[in-house]
Symmetry: C2
């Protein structure tokens, strides 16, 4: 941890704390899904975390407006938040609670389900390219092209060699996005096996949550180790300088929301988008408006 | 106004109060853009109105979740909010403040700008069909196919006879949407000529609002009467039982937000969407989850 003056730890950006280092092997068992690294301190954790997230709202919306305004002046920069994680890990909850802090008109949200017949007839990145954020927007992927190296690997939906080539294809694709002004924030929502059981049982206990449940969710649990391995490989091979992965401990919903809001804030602040200069004569326009009625 | 027991006025739905009656001539001069029909009473108007809108938030989000959940059980119903109005009338503000009350993942927002070359090569409804909400979603159009009988009429962007046919084409299109489960809520945000001047001057006064300003906005003001006439015609010819128009007095932003939130609430309540029944054995799934670890 970097040290500041007088030996005290300098505040570290959460992006550094949670980023998966490029090229290093990833062992998910070493990450505690109940941890709250860098987050509001326990025991006030939950309520302090919720308050801290809510307090970020106006600042995030302001940064978003500046990002969008800049695009009207030709700035091509934009954000793409990629959310991946096992069932019940909180991808939908993140959209509701974190993206809900932004102006909806500047958000382009795409949930990726099992590919349609048409989508299967195209290269796997085809449907992803169509859903990218435009300049000035914040794009949100609820699942993504990573499904094509996750479930596709676990369920052997494609030949091994074709699967193996996809990591490189993804890296080149993401590099091209970064080159075009896209800041990628790829979040793996890391929950524990027991926490998933608890959340699935909760869905069963509430009739108003049954629509979110599918008995095949239980079958998928038998493949938990295979999924963890597939995630480890994806994180290891595709956490690049242009498009790093972040591991978000996600057993605690308040921490997940706080951490992702903070990542968004840090990246938006780093972009530091500016309102464009007026390309018209402000004084003259004011006069025209004031004179027209007389 | 309908009377309840003991001669007291029964509460009237805002949808009835603001709806443009089918087939009757529309005189926009008769509508005061500063009015607050059915709204929280002055003098507490502004703060009471804002509070009332905020209080509707959780209920709206709950209705939206039910609508979305129902779609997973085969219910094709959805909402389409169409926002039209002169520059600065508050279309963007409505998306921010009203649609911001909903879960962003269930909202499909489309802002329609001047048609691209590709769009101009297609019938005018082509780009609109591509942006429709899916079952369970709330669609929001910031401008819409009505531009093709508004600016297109005022600026004579199409031959007269082709323009004249569009009203009928729109009505048949909207009827087909209604037949497919789409509830249309078409809102004309009605601001006054003086209020627009005030808002444009405000944009000029603030450098962080310059990006929203275009000097051509001033030129358009010279065509104000022609636009009002074009709106009157569109409201008159296209306020149908299947897809009524609502005139929203929009000089007061708090009223505009309260009124549109209320229209959405009334329509969602009328739909009364239900969580779908579980199509699986809840008890068996619970047992499987509890047993797997032992």
């Amino acid at each position: 941890m970097p040290k500041g003056k007088k030996g005290r730890a300098a505040p570290q950006r959460l992006s550094e704390l949670l980023r998966v280092p490029e090229g290093e092997p990833v062992d998910l068992a070493a990450f505690d899904p109940r941890a709250t690294p860098g987050g509001p301190d326990a025991p006030g954790g939950k309520s302090a975390g919720r308050e801290a997230t809510a307090r970020m709202g106006p600042g995030l919306a302001d940064l978003q407006e500046r990002l969008y305004a800049a695009s009207t002046g030709g700035d091509r920069r934009r954000l793409l938040l990629v959310l991946q994680g096992m069932d019940t890990s909180g991808k939908g909850g993140t959209v509701k609670h974190v993206i809900g802090l932004f102006n909806p008109s500047g958000c382009r949200i795409q949930a990726f389900k099992a590919p349609t017949a048409e989508e299967r007839n195209h290269p796997f990145l085809w449907r992803v390219r169509k859903a990218l954020p435009h300049p000035g927007e914040i794009g949100i992927f609820d699942r993504s092209h990573y499904e094509d190296v996750l479930i596709a690997r676990v369920r052997e939906l494609a030949p091994r060699d074709r699967l193996g080539r996809r990591y490189g294809q993804i890296n080149r694709f993401e590099q091209s996005l970064a080159d075009d002004g896209v800041t990628l924030i790829k979040c793996f929502l890391h929950i524990g096996y027991e926490e998933q059981r608890r959340r699935l049982l909760q869905r069963l206990d509430r009739p108003d949550k049954h629509w979110k449940f599918d008995p095949s969710d239980i079958d998928e649990r038998a493949l938990w180790p295979a999924y963890q391995e597939a995630y480890e490989l994806a994180l290891q091979r595709c956490s690049t300088a242009a498009a790093p992965w972040y591991v978000i401990p996600a057993d605690r919903k308040w921490y997940r929301n706080w951490a992702i809001s903070t990542l968004l804030r840090e990246h938006l602040e780093a972009l530091d988008p500016r309102y464009p200069e007026a390309e018209f004569d402000v004084a003259e326009c004011r006069e025209r408006l004031l004179d027209e009625g007389t």
